[in-house]
């Protein structure tokens, strides 16, 4: 099977034609031989039957008159037919009457069983039986047997001839087919070659086949295809060039972009570094400030203290007053430094975000503030659990609460802390029944170093609220105040739930309360 695949078209065609011819010839030959065989047999039968008839006719008298000699003489005539091996006449009584044996035949062979008139092929012999009828009466029977030698001879001859013819015919077939196959293989090979050429890239190559048959059409289609291929190649090339130029320009742009981006990144890194270093500087600065600015303050305080102690007798009331003022100023300075430092740290110094149960925290803050007996601080409803920087939230509540306490002017001070949920925000409120604030100052109080009362009345750095504002805004919230002078003030501030990062208050409460 694989051999079949590797054969060339030419060989295939020749082989096909040859095989077809040979097969046909073989068939014809076989048919012929069979036909001849049949015919020869029949001829043989006919011939032998004729012999039998003649002999039978001639032996009638001999048989009727029991002349064995005469009968045998008659039978002897059969020797002219060399294929007849045996003849036998049997009388109607069933007894053998006369025989003939061919010269080379063993005389002891039994004559065959007499049958009805007819012929039988068997054991390589043809045996014919003929009744001898005299005047309508069967007086005996004749049996003739001949070998099939002539048959075989004829057959051999026929077969020989047929084989010879077959060979000759095959030869002729070969020559003819090898010439004629070119009609098919020629164009195919040309097509194959054409395909190969085009495959190599010679797109101008065309296949010339002039015949009007399918191969001609194929060649036509092939050439069309080649033409189209050439066109499409050309257009593709063009397109590719266009794309390539587009790509390269895009590439250039990209490269520029990349360079720019890199530069930007570098700048960013640089900036970050700078920020870091600035941050560090500020940190150091803050430290230095807090430390070195405070140092002289300490000295001043000490000296004031000593002067007050050592020269108490030399100081009059005014003197004492001045000393007090001096000391107070020193304290103020100290607080201002701390406040400013603290303010600056908000947002700059990032702490860890932790979960804080505000209920607990606020209670702690209230404890630390330790308000006077006449001031009552209450938490109105359950405060949520939030996730934020601890210091900051403490600062918020501490500032607001301490303010409320500090500025309380009523004999029964009441500070109420509350919280409601609103549009994804918590709205906290710190409400007092203090002196209240005039509307025109609602904005001002949140500014740095702003106080509403002279500093000597209520010692205040003026930093607190601005810091609270900064913290609240840092967490995406807002702070404002509602107040009625004389009645009290309520400070509101919102904290975004998302900023706070708490989803389920109760769940969170469980976690925090276990801590």
């Amino acid at each position: 099977m694989s051999k079949l695949r590797t054969m060339t078209i030419r060989h295939k065609l020749i082989s096909i034609i040859m095989l077809t011819c040979i097969a046909a010839l073989l068939l014809v030959g076989a048919a012929f031989i069979v036909w001849q065989w049949t015919n020869l047999r029949l001829a043989m039968v006919k011939s032998l039957s004729i012999h039998a008839e003649i002999i039978a006719e001639n032996c009638k008298a001999a048989l009727a008159f029991e002349d064995v000699k005469d009968a045998e003489e008659t039978l002897k005539a059969l020797h002219v037919e060399p294929s007849i091996v045996f003849a036998c006449i049997r009388s109607s009584s069933g007894k053998d009457f006369a025989h003939y044996y061919r010269y080379d035949v063993d005389k002891s062979i039994h004559p065959p069983e007499f049958q009805q008139e007819g012929y039988v092929f068997g054991d390589g012999y043809l045996t014919v039986f003929k009744d001898i009828v005299l005047d309508g009466e069967v007086i005996g029977a004749l049996c003739l047997r001949s070998d099939l030698y002539p048959l075989y001879v004829r057959l051999k001859l026929s077969t020989g001839i047929i084989i010879a013819v077959l060979l000759l015919a095959s030869l002729v077939a070969y020559f003819v087919s090898s010439r004629l196959q070119k009609v098919i293989s020629g164009p195919i090979l040309r097509l194959a070659e054409g395909a190969a050429r085009i495959g190599e890239g010679k797109l101008n190559h065309r296949v010339k086949i002039r015949s009007k048959d399918e191969l001609g059409h194929l060649a036509q289609s092939f050439n069309d295809m080649a033409g189209k291929l050439k066109e499409s190649y050309a257009s593709l090339e063009k397109k590719v060039q266009e794309r390539t130029s587009e790509l390269s320009s895009a590439n250039e742009k990209l490269e520029v972009e990349i360079v720019e981006r890199k530069q930007a990144e570098e700048r960013q890194a640089q900036l970050l570094e700078e920020i870091e270093s600035i941050n560090q500087e500020l940190k150091d600065f803050a430290y230095i400030i807090s430390h070195d600015l405070k140092a002289p303050l300490r000295g001043i305080k000490t000296l004031v203290d000593w002067i007050t102690t050592d020269y108490a007798d030399k100081l009059d009331e005014e003197g004492g007053e001045q000393m007090n003022l001096l000391s107070g100023r020193v304290d103020r300075m100290h607080n201002l430094i701390d406040g400013v430092l603290e303010y600056s740290r908000v947002g700059r110094v990032k702490e860890k975000m932790v979960q804080i149960n505000l209920d607990e925290l606020v209670r702690e803050i209230i404890d630390s503030i330790a308000p006077r007996e006449n001031i009552e601080i209450t938490v109105e409803n359950e405060l949520p659990v939030v996730v934020c920087e601890q210091t900051r939230i403490i600062q918020v509540f501490q500032n607001l609460l301490s303010n409320a306490v500090k500025y309380m002017d009523k004999p029964q001070g009441q500070v109420r802390i509350g919280c409601v949920e609103e549009d994804g925000f918590w709205k906290f409120s710190v409400a007092d029944n203090g002196p209240g604030i005039e509307e025109k100052y609602f904005e001002k109080i949140f500014q740095m170093f702003q106080t509403l009362s002279p500093r000597d009345e209520f010692e205040s750095t003026g930093v607190g609220l601005s810091m609270v504002k900064k913290i609240v805004e840092l967490y995406g919230g807002k702070i404002w105040v509602e107040s009625e002078p004389g009645k009290g003030s309520t400070f509101f501030f919102t904290l975004s739930k998302q900023e706070m990062g708490v989803k389920d208050a109760k769940y969170e409460a469980n976690i925090v309360s276990r801590r």
Partner: protein, 139 residues
């Protein structure tokens, strides 16, 4: 103090120095007080033959020319001088300063209280402690 050896105070701030002196006076410490304004001077004094070796050094950290840590380093290198107990008396709460000081085997680290009265208490504590604590002789 037990003995009559002087106390060496290394402190640049005049007011702070005055505070120490005053505090010592308040708690009636009779030992003499030598005051130097920086580490260099202190070293000079300590190395000075004619000078009496102090029984305790009260050392401030932030000083010009030679600050406390530098001074400490040198003192603790010196076989003789390192026996003298040094108590750092400073405004600095800095953790780093503390670490440095204790690395250099200070006997104590006290942050100066802002309040004078508290300052006096601190000095008294030092005095009490060193009255109790014994120093090797020959210093």
């Amino acid at each position: 103090m037990r003995n009559m050896k002087p106390i060496l105070l290394v402190e640049d701030d005049k007011v702070d120095a005055m505070t120490v002196k005053r505090a010592l006076k308040d708690i009636k410490v009779m030992n003499g007080l030598t005051h130097t304004v920086n580490g260099e001077e202190a070293l000079e004094y300590l190395r000075g033959e004619s000078n009496k070796k102090p029984c305790i050094i009260l050392l401030d950290l932030n000083m010009p020319k030679m600050n406390g840590v530098e001074f400490l380093k040198i003192v603790k290198e010196d076989e003789e001088l390192k026996k003298i107990p040094v108590v750092v008396l400073t405004t600095s709460k800095d953790e780093q300063d503390k670490i440095e000081s204790f690395k250099l085997s200070v006997a104590g680290y006290i942050v100066k209280p802002a309040d004078y009265k508290k300052f006096v208490e601190a000095v008294r504590t030092i005095e009490l402690y060193w009255t109790l604590s014994e120093l090797p002789d020959g210093g």
